[in-house]
């Protein structure tokens, strides 16, 4: 997965030619691509943490870690598509509050899990369509459109509730989405539902992005919209698709969040949008469009999640999480800038 875009990245680099020897090719990938560097850093971090804390590598902790990153990862999948397609969505943070509150109210009113889920996804589709309509129809920069949507949705979430919508329906299956496990799998253990959902979303969209026509269109539209338009690709269609996917996936993560918290809170997701975008860019995507892979995004989200997990396990004040995340982004961007210069890009 993602191999195509990695190969394109290496075009022109002297090391790119040595792929005849598989080991040298691997070394090139590890040291010369954003994904490779992230993987190396992630592995090093895992080794250090498992030495320092006996709990780190335990089955329980690994699944806790994976559950924790699931919300960011699900939204980041949509955001990767959107950023590759040269647009951005800042409204995903407020979506966590807005969709959460609306979905919880629907659940309370209907006591029907599917009704709640349907309303959440519908809200995601509508927000995605509005974002796309304003960006493409009125030709306003998506940064501004979705920034306005960020304030509007936050305001609407506040209008719906003063603080939080509590769970008044007590559906058992609902809580399971946030904190439950699917059946025990021998040799692997009890896998939490959020992890399963994340894996399905990731695999589905990774295949879509690398193995289907629409996936190639996303790269084409992001890389050069004019050329894509001239060769018959509907830029509108592709970008609208990306906006809607981002809206829906943000809604899915909001649904998992309310299931985990057992309430829809109007202050959920403050700053979430910047964390998601930070992870996607850390994964090697560029806001200039046409670049980025879901594997890179996954590695970046894993790296940030592992760090946060490590900080907790080592008993360090959790206030450090934010500072360390910021430093990691800085270091990763620094390494990327150096790598680009070494490879002779830019």
């Amino acid at each position: 997965m993602g191999a195509d875009s990695i190969r394109t990245l290496d075009v022109g680099s002297p090391a790119g030619r040595s792929t005849r020897r598989p080991l040298a090719g691997l070394a090139t990938w590890l040291f010369r691509t954003q994904e490779g560097v992230l993987l190396l850093v992630l592995l090093a971090l895992c080794v250090v943490l498992s030495r320092l804390s006996p709990v780190f590598a335990s089955e329980r902790n690994v699944f806790v870690l994976l559950s924790q990153i699931s919300l960011t990862m699900i939204t980041a999948v949509g955001m990767t598509l959107l950023i590759v397609g040269r647009e951005v969505d800042l409204s995903v943070g407020s979506m966590q509050a807005f969709v959460g509150v609306v979905a919880m109210q629907t659940l309370n009113a209907t006591s029907n899990l599917f009704a709640g889920l349907a309303v959440a996804i519908l809200a995601g589709v509508v927000v995605g369509l509005v974002n796309a309509g304003l960006t493409l129809g009125l030709r306003i920069n998506s940064f501004i459109v979705t920034l306005a949507m960020l304030t509007i949705l936050r305001g609407l979430a506040y209008t719906f509730t003063d603080a939080a919508v509590q769970n008044a329906h007590n559906l058992e299956a609902f809580r399971a989405i946030g904190i439950g496990f699917i059946a025990h799998i021998p040799g692997v253990g009890r896998i939490p539902w959020p992890v399963v959902i994340t894996a399905v979303v990731f695999v589905a969209f990774a295949l879509l992005l690398t193995r289907t026509t629409i996936g190639r269109y996303v790269y084409a539209v992001g890389g050069n919209p004019r050329a894509a338009e001239l060769s018959g690709v509907s830029v509108w269609g592709v970008k609208t698709f990306c906006f809607v996917v981002t809206g829906v996936l943000a809604a899915v993560s909001a649904f998992i969040l309310i299931a985990r918290l057992n309430s829809g809170q109007n202050n959920a997701g403050f700053g979430f949008e910047l964390q998601v975008i930070g992870a996607v860019l850390l994964g090697g995507a560029s806001l200039a469009g046409g670049q980025g892979t879901l594997v890179g995004t996954l590695l970046a989200v894993l790296l940030l999640g592992t760090l946060n997990n490590g900080i907790i396990l080592l008993g360090i004040d959790s206030s450090w999480q934010l500072a360390v995340n910021g430093l990691i982004i800085l270091v990763a961007v620094l390494l990327d800038a150096r790598r680009r210069r070494a490879v002779g890009q830019e």
Binding site: G155, G271, D317, A323, G326, L327, I329, V333, L334, A337
Partner: protein, 346 residues
Amino acid sequence: MAAIHPDRSAAAPSAGGGGGIRRRLLPAVRHEEIALLGLFLLVAAFFAVAVPSARSGGTYLDLLRDAAPNLIAAIGVTLLLLAGEFDLSVGSMLAFTGVVTVSTFNATDSMWLGIVAGLLTGPLIGAINGYLVTVQGMNSLMTTLGMLFALRGLVYVWTNQTPVVDENGFSVFTGFYRGEIARIPLPGIIALVLIALAWLFATRTEFGRNIYAIGGNRTAARVSGIRVQRNTFLLFVLSGTMAAIAGVLVASQTGTGYFDAGVQGFELIVIASIVLGGVSLSGGEGNLLSAMLGVLILGMVAKGLRLMGAHTTQQLVVTGIVMLLAVFLHGVRQRMLVESRRRNRA
């Protein structure tokens, strides 16, 4: 380079009727400031009609006080945006500077030492941002996003997420915020003086005029002998300094260093106001005074809604809608401008 870019393929709409109304609107179309001033007056007139208490002159003086931190921070961010670079770290700077200032008060029992320490954080952080972007070649959006998290995190670690209160209760310090000269609030005067200086700098010095060249076409600027790296670095230092001044002002409001100052998207609101003022996110287009009008328009909307007794929720929704409307009108204006130029040439 600027990472987010408007739709460059935006073509002028087909020439319509071009009647008298259009010709009468032309001054507003040609001059951004006139269009924005009109918009500001429209907003002010609306609130004057809707809320009796908005009719007194005191309201506008209060507006100057409320908007001062945003205005001051926006000066630096605008100049950077014109040069094609982002600074997202200003929101966290607000908290960082405030905490440094008040902590130094408490540690040294000296007000001036505290203020100097607080103000010095600006050029320091600005220089780090500038070094990473210009010397290391890092993307400014990502760099300052990392700085946003890193600084906020440091503030959390340092303060343990509790506000730092001035133990000496320096009344001179809170006087900076509350004081007024000839009924004009001191923060407003500071903001106006800084705007005037920045405007002189941007329009009357060679460095200032070069900003547009850098933002418009970096390579061309470099080839024509402009020291792009040095100038960009200095603009980052300037942006940090302005953010620090804003941070000291916010702290002087109650003599407290708030760990969460600016956490609800200060940087995004500042950028939105600037873009509302017609500055392009891709650099090289726009001007400082229009950007300041953009800040005042959003400030007036917020103030008017508060006077109307609107809940924060409605404030957020209306702010978002005004933002969209203003940026949409800006786009329409630009297209009309292109059209009228084309007609003049024909």
